[in-house]
Amino acid sequence: MTEMNFAEAMIDGLCVALDSDPSVSIIGRGISGHGAEAAADKRLAPYGDRVLDPPTSEAAVAMLALGASMSGLRMFLHFGTGVFAFEAWNQVVNEAANARYMSGGRLKSPVTFCMFHGLRNGGGPQHSASSQAMYANSPGLEVVMPASPADAKGLALTAIRSDNATVMLVHPSLLSLRADVPAGDYAVPFGQAAVRREGRDVTIVAFSRQVTEALKAAEILAKEGIDAEVLDPRTLVPLDEASILASVRKTGRLVVADETPVHYGCASEIAALVAEKGFGSLKAPVARVARPHTPVPFSPGMEAFLTPDAAKIADAVRRTLAA
């Protein structure tokens, strides 16, 4: 175990992937976000032309990665801010998502599309998207959202080694999060939720940065005598339904925290899952803590108003317990 931040862990994962398999190739800079590029560049420099700095052509670069993955490379492409991937929307959700299925399994598509999502202090309307639900609603893609440094490394390694197209969404405010990360090569399997905190009274399912907020909320609630369980599914597709249902069976209450706009979002999907398959366990209505269905304003106070956080999660838990 070594303590490192989320960005360093991701880069460490990429280096493990590059070292262990000569077919791994990386496209994109800014993997560690603004301010840490120099350190990332330094670690990736020895890999020479296995790390490509591409022109600003998201659509063609996404297809370059997909085409190369069909022809024997394992590609990891970082778009930077996730909204840039909208320039490659067709290429990700219509080409990459379908490539393997529509070939009858004859083609593999080991490509990872990594990007930053979420509200990040001043991103404004065009740089704050949390598009995970859109990708999760595009069959054929695996969708993963690491919430810790160890998972950033382990999920990146699993994504790179998967023969399917994978979308990896990272919240930029997590990049400086420090924690212990296992050394060397390891993998975090897809479809296995992590219980971040055990509890008896309520289940909080949270994704990405909201895992951190949910844990803060659980501390606040503990002082009020409320014992919250925090579950991090880690991957949206495939989804660990069994762990979510088991937790709700135990607690009888569910709050879901995610930054996707609330309508048709990830929180809605988890709520629907429990309504359909775990209705008998519920002692209260499910609560969703997500962004309101509105574009994102620039002004700090207005942005904060929309942003799911520990206080909003704690409020939702209290409502659920009062119901």
């Binding site: 032309d49 490509l52 297809m63 022809s71 290429q91």
Partner: protein
């Protein structure tokens, strides 16, 4: 946009094709033509439950055979949805192609792709994208892989003039040129000004776009299979030698059924004897057959040069037609896949 061939290629002496090579070009074109006619037959026969559309390669055989026969077996092709020509030319199993077009269990893609997405990686046919601008960028990706793998193989992008209407067409050309990727851009220009769909480009010639990106270009008459083939060999040599991409444009006149909604034979079932008996060419599309049918033109040329006899032509065509009929008859016996196989993903 109008973009006529910028002159035909005058073959150098050493480029002259021998009889075997010429017959291979003709046979390849006939295989494609008889296959596509087989597709029309399938679509016209209700009992086969054909549900696809009609994007046939009839009329483009000169471009496809000319280009594909210049490739090596390890080269990788990515095409548009007008893909049957390249698949046949690359040697894909035509029985499985027919089965895929019918959505049957024995199809190349197990019934999941249909005509629009047939792929056969075993014969160097990597993928079909049915999105305009798809194949060109995927081929750049395969070329990127080949460059990293230090392979001597090259990648081929098959696309139409419409791809240059798409932003990704420009992006893909730029990236290929920027990184000197081993990709042959094989553009089939069947634009028809005033008719939709057709490309609408402000540039006077399609090739001005790749030329602006520092890429060698050439335009040839796509109805002249030898011209395409010789130009493609030169282009393939360029790409394979590591000098970067090449843009080869084959100008085509659309077959009258090019965008037909209902299966039909607007120029009749191919009759090889029209190569020497032009008086028999009739109907409202006679002009296309007379002037642009690449198979008739090539058969006529070979006869005129005494390279083949009428009997040889007839026998070759008969052989191809018979083998195609047999493969089609086998394909229609393939069952539909179990419906619940739809949920199977490939892990």
């Amino acid at each position: 946009m109008a973009d006529a061939a910028q002159g035909t290629v005058a073959p150098r002496k050493e480029d002259r094709l021998n009889k075997q090579e010429r017959l291979a070009l003709l046979e390849c074109m006939l295989r494609i033509r008889r296959f596509e006619e087989g597709v029309i037959h399938l679509a016209m026969t209700p009992e086969y439950e054909y549900v696809g559309r009609q994007h046939l390669y009839i009329g483009a055989e000169g471009a496809g055979a000319g280009a594909c026969l210049a490739l090596g077996k390890d080269d990788l092709a990515h095409t548009t949805h007008r893909n049957h020509g390249y698949l046949v030319a690359r040697g894909s199993d035509r029985m499985r192609m027919f089965a895929e077009i019918l959505g049957r269990a024995d199809g190349t893609n197990l019934g999941r792709g249909g005509s629009w997405h047939i792929c056969d990686p075993d014969v160097g046919f990597r993928s079909t994208s049915a999105m305009v601008g798809g194949s060109i960028a995927l081929a750049v990706g395969s070329a990127y892989a080949l460059q990293k793998q230090k392979s001597k193989a090259i990648s081929v992008a098959h696309f139409g003039d419409g791809t240059l209407d798409e932003g990704i067409g420009y992006e893909a050309l730029n990236i290929a040129s920027l990184f000197k990727l081993p990709v042959l851009f094989m553009c089939e220009n069947n634009s028809k000004p005033g008719q939709r769909p057709s490309s609408m480009l402000a540039a006077k010639h399609l090739s001005h776009v790749p030329a602006a990106l520092d890429m060698p270009t050439k335009a040839v008459n796509g109805a002249d299979v030898e011209a395409v083939h010789l130009a493609a060999k030169e282009a393939v040599d360029h790409v394979r030698s590591g000098k970067g991409p090449y843009f080869l444009q084959a100008d085509l006149e659309r077959w009258p059924g090019s965008h037909q909604v209902h299966a039909a034979f607007p120029t009749g079932v191919t009759d090889i004897s029209l190569a020497w008996d032009e008086g028999k060419i009739e109907g409202k599309n006679a002009d296309w057959t007379r002037t642009y049918d690449p198979i008739r033109l090539y058969a006529k040329k070979l006869l005129g040069e005494n390279a083949v006899t009428r009997d040889e032509l007839t026998a070759l065509d008969r052989k191809v037609a018979d083998e195609t009929d047999k493969l089609r008859a086998t394909a229609v016996k393939s069952p539909f896949p179990p419906a619940d196989a739809a949920a199977k993903q490939f892990a």
